[in-house]
Symmetry: C2
Subunit: 215 residues, 2 copies
Amino acid sequence: MEIQVMKNILGENDRVAAENQAMFAEKGIFVLNLMGSPGAGKTSLLEKTMAKLRDKVKMAVIEGDLYTSKDAERIDRYGVPVIQINTAGGCHLDAPMVQKVAQKLNLDELELLIVENVGNLVCPAEFAVGENEKAVVLSITEGADKPMKYPLIFKESAIALLNKVDLLPYCDFDMAGAKEDIDTLHPGMRVIEVSCSKGDGVDEWCEWLLSKVKK
Amino acid sequence: MEIQVMKNILGENDRVAAENQAMFAEKGIFVLNLMGSPGAGKTSLLEKTMAKLRDKVKMAVIEGDLYTSKDAERIDRYGVPVIQINTAGGCHLDAPMVQKVAQKLNLDELELLIVENVGNLVCPAEFAVGENEKAVVLSITEGADKPMKYPLIFKESAIALLNKVDLLPYCDFDMAGAKEDIDTLHPGMRVIEVSCSKGDGVDEWCEWLLSKVKK
């Protein structure tokens, strides 16, 4: 019975996600669903991304959070259009939420839309929002065992960003082991080492993003 | 309709949680529900706790994880009884899961049971498992904005452990601000600064735990 309910919810979400995807495709917008644990560095990565790309590509951001607009305020400083979704305690964004707020964006003027999901390494991976690709940010302070402990998000994502590498000297993080596990879960998956505070890897990440945007 | 389903699930969970609580109370066992983000340091804290307390108090651990038994293997090395629950992708433990595995423990021989929840700062706070108290581990690498972004887990917990304080010199973490936000969310809440790698705060935490165990 509970499984049945879950299937219905996911089925309805998939239907709306497909609608969203068609809507974004018609406008030629590349949509990224950006996921990761609380504090992995999703918003910091977005800040670096906007600083690099805001003059090169027409972008907008949808911010998911339980209650606050703290992240949206950080994005807003970069002059990039941003819309906040508050899930009121909900642990992930879903396709109907994104469909509702997408109407407030000028889609004809957009090339890139980044949806920053709720900080959670589990639930967001289960709910498509209409994206072209998913990306997962894992900070090295979380530990090298995390890919195997949270496999779905690595299987679903096109790219993994291993953030906070500036803290590697102070942490016991097995980089080779983590990369090997990620490759076991998702063979050939693109992995970039990133430091949002120092700037490492940000160029490579922005090049990947730009390669996805249709001109 | 979806809200109705959610209410039913939570209602049923609360009923079983009350059963668990009565069962543990009858045996005089203090039960702690230990929660936090992936990689916040819950298992590391348990390792330090077992090293300090295993000769002083009869303890056991229930480990929640999506798929692996990595954490249970770490606990097992300390010679403390440990049972693994794999949620098969589920984002939190619930009361029926704990009720089922508790039967495998020798409850007559126990004084302290720690339930390490799935790494997630959102969902576990919504589902009681039959605990006496909840505790939340937040690592300072996650950022000082997290209490306000994930308020429920701080409102529900009796104690907050701010872990990885050994990394404070390398991170931009506003300790005073974080503590102020926690006190706003949950006035008078006990907060301990901890470094599981260096040992800071572990004595204070173990004293708090011991004070809860009935002798």
